[in-house]
């Protein structure tokens, strides 16, 4: 059964709502949001509250529920 979550872009405060299948991976969720906001998916992580959502886990594994609010956070690398 599909669920709908809200994703907040921490860089500009914009939000989107996304419909997700339980088998969708968190990586796919990040990719969908990053593509929408013209960002590079590999440079971001997704959080729910204080919890980092692991890229390989699925929506079901991560325990995401309908109406959850997630946040897309940049994961910068400096050199």
């Amino acid at each position: 059964m599909e669920i709908e979550v809200t994703i907040r872009n921490a860089e500009n405060g914009s939000v989107l709502n996304m419909e997700l299948d339980p088998n969708t991976t968190i990586e796919d969720v990040i990719e969908g949001a990053a593509e929408f906001w013209h960002k590079e998916a590999g440079a971001y992580v997704l959080r729910r509250g204080k919890k980092l959502l692991k890229g390989q886990s699925t929506v079901a594994d991560a325990g995401l529920k309908n109406e959850d609010v997630l946040e897309l956070i940049p994961d910068p690398e400096g050199g």
Partner: protein
């Protein structure tokens, strides 16, 4: 598995006057080029950094220098508009455990929850308006890795990168313009009831 976006909304940039000129200054760590561009646009700066946020970054870079590694964090604040021009305010910074060496830095995966906790503890609704990191002893510039980060994450007009060299006591800020990284003018501001900034 594909995802489906059902609706979205853009953030509405708020009108807010920038800090008044009598509560804005340059910084003694500015390089000559930074000081020059600060003086050129000091009445219409695109970026203002709160004094305490600047102190946190500077102290963080000095701590990293003593441990011989780079440090890094996120610039937290918001973007605003006033009389037709947009600017960004950095009101605080956040960092966490790092995976760092003399020439490389990123957040340690184990530190992410601590970073998120810092974000949740803020007393304002934040946007991440950029990032800072240090280059101990090698001067301020944007390396290839830094440019990739800027292009991949911080490519909007209000996004900035701050680089500090705690050995040379230098600071520069950058942003993206048509795919190139260029210097960005910034001012340090302080709140009405704070002591004036002394650097």
């Amino acid at each position: 598995m594909p995802t489906k976006i059902t609706s979205w909304s853009e953030y509405q940039v708020r009108e807010r006057p920038p800090p008044p000129p009598e509560r804005v200054s340059s910084h003694r760590w500015f390089t000559e080029d930074m000081d020059h561009i600060y003086r050129e646009v000091r009445d219409e700066l695109p970026l203002y950094v709160q004094r305490t946020a600047e102190e946190k970054m500077r102290n963080h870079s000095l701590a990293g220098m003593r441990a011989s590694h780079e440090v890094m964090g996120l610039l937290l604040g918001g973007r605003f508009t006033w009389q037709g021009r947009e600017y960004a305010l950095v009101r605080d910074v956040a960092t966490t455990e790092l995976e760092a060496s003399e020439y490389h830095v990123r957040f340690h995966e184990d530190g992410m929850e601590g970073l998120f906790e810092s974000l949740d503890d803020l007393d304002f609704v934040y946007s991440i308006v950029g990032w800072y990191h240090s280059h101990p002893g090698i001067g301020c510039f944007m390396s290839d890795t830094d440019v990739r980060t800027q292009e991949g994450s911080f490519n909007s007009p209000h996004h900035s990168a701050l680089v500090l060299d705690p050995v040379r006591r230098e600071m520069e800020a950058y942003h993206m313009v048509e795919g190139n990284v260029v210097l960005r003018a910034l001012g340090i501001y302080w709140d009405l009831h704070q002591d004036p900034y002394r650097g």
